[in-house]
Symmetry: C2
């Protein structure tokens, strides 16, 4: 009965084909289109899925509006292994059509971070931080404080 | 240089303390509050983090507005092991203060799913589906089609 895992993050998109191509390029991972109308990108840990925005809203409830404005209040992050990877990944996203919201730069907390918005305005932070490390399977970990 | 993993999903929240308590209850996972101003919930696979909405917007860019309306276009999902778990988790979220947007029900694609909105209106789907299974480490997998 526990819910110990976020299994899938779904992004509502205007053009499923374009969004799928964008993420295939940025994530360097082949998407799975074998389910009609939805793209699953089976990343380790938690999947990303892409689904037409109106269909996603309707799936939640008829009460959910089909439009949005302002800040969604959600960001996705990729923790990179070093500053150079932050720069390279943001550049790859830009080449694929993303809008760079914040060029990679030092942060007030001692990290190095940039943001891009995908084709539908969903925000990604690409970040390196000195307090983070990775488990053998690639999962993010906090360094021991001792 | 690959970006093979979504490491963190950050939700902007109005009240960090209330949101932290909500997710501690729903996820049954102790949050890590040792970083001033941000809550990390170190789930396996991909973490969830909670951060005040205005600070999150400002972190992206001064151009990002502090308000939002309509549908954010993002949903988070927990794939459950069975229908009864879907019902139990949605009920636990409701008890913790969530708004149930869609009561657990059969879906058109052969699954069983419900949605809730958290204290800040972020949507979660709790879902079981016959095409999904789990790896030993708990990661979501598609069943073999053969």
């Amino acid at each position: 009965m526990k819910i110990p895992r976020l299994t899938v993050v779904t992004l509502g998109v205007a053009d499923l084909s374009k969004a799928t191509t964008f993420y295939e390029t940025v994530l360097a991972t082949p998407p799975n289109n074998s389910f009609a109308g939805v793209t699953f990108i089976e990343l380790p840990g938690t999947w990303l899925s892409l689904y037409p925005l109106a269909a996603l809203a309707k799936d939640i409830s008829p009460e959910v509006p089909l439009v949005h404005s302002g800040f969604s209040g959600v960001t996705l992050a990729h923790n990179a292994r070093c500053r150079d990877d932050v720069i390279a990944i943001i550049e790859r996203a830009r080449s694929a059509g993303a809008c760079v919201m914040k060029a990679p730069q030092e942060t007030f907390w001692g990290g190095f971070s940039g943001y891009f918005a995908d084709l539908d305005g969903h925000y990604w932070e690409v970040v390196w931080g000195p307090m983070f490390t990775f488990a053998e399977n690639g999962e993010l970990r906090l360094k021991d404080k001792g």
